[in-house]
Symmetry: C2
Subunit: 142 residues, 2 copies
């Protein structure tokens, strides 16, 4: 994400220009929603939230905005099982914990300095692009 030097944005949290992506009110609000909420909302949840500010926005536009933001590496699409895709603005490499009892999702940090090859046997000569780790479980009661 690149902050445009001559940016006239009133809110410095949300860059006027995101690495060459044409910035529209809709894209800005979609991004803002994800940046504010750390809860990995679905497209429909983003849609409902953004409608407060942009009552005319359509669900298809939300999908298109999310797609554009994902393509420009500003947000991340996360898929859990067969559920709707979820999105998050946390671009730091991380995994997810899915609480099977509440359905809530928590970010998981990697332990510092670990590498996939420390715990998985990878075939020779692989160039790793991305690792996706999801832990399913629950909190013990006591």
């Amino acid at each position: 994400m690149v902050n445009h030097p001559e940016s006239t944005a009133t809110n410095q949290e949300f860059p006027e220009e995101i690495s060459g992506l044409r910035m529209t009110r809709q894209r800005l609000e979609v991004y803002r929603c994800l940046h504010d909420e750390k809860t990995h909302p679905t497209a429909v949840e983003v849609f409902m939230r953004v409608k407060d500010r942009l009552p005319h926005i359509s669900l298809a536009t939300v999908y298109n905005c999310l797609e554009a933001l994902v393509q420009h590496g500003v947000i991340r699409q996360v898929n859990f099982e067969r559920e709707s895709s979820r999105y998050c603005a946390n671009m730091i490499d991380h995994g997810h914990f899915l609480d099977v009892e509440t359905g809530k999702i928590y970010d998981l940090e990697f332990k510092p300095g670990v590498c996939v090859t420390d715990f998985m046997k990878l075939p020779e000569g692989i160039i790793t692009e991305d690792i996706d780790i999801t832990v399913r479980g629950k909190f013990s009661k006591n």
Copy 2:
């Protein structure tokens, strides 16, 4: 999976009784398909393959069979991104490597003795049910 002691099955590869699951020709063929093919087929791929032996089987039945086998812990459902679900009969805990160039999927073994907590920071008091690891990447050319 439990082999019935007095089993009269002619093919010892496919148990007549799978932990209380009523065994039908359809379920048997679906299971056999996954056991034979190590290629993580989708429901539609299983459907096409099984139709050779059971020309009257319907796609809905394949879905139902897969669901039943998953519920009884005999096969595993694996989801990659937004693609169709894939299924495999390898119940040993393993991850997956997705070759982004060919779309092919390879099983990945864990290194012996590793535990999630070795590489991820988990919240206190979590009971882990399942870990899902998918590595995306490609083979280097040389």
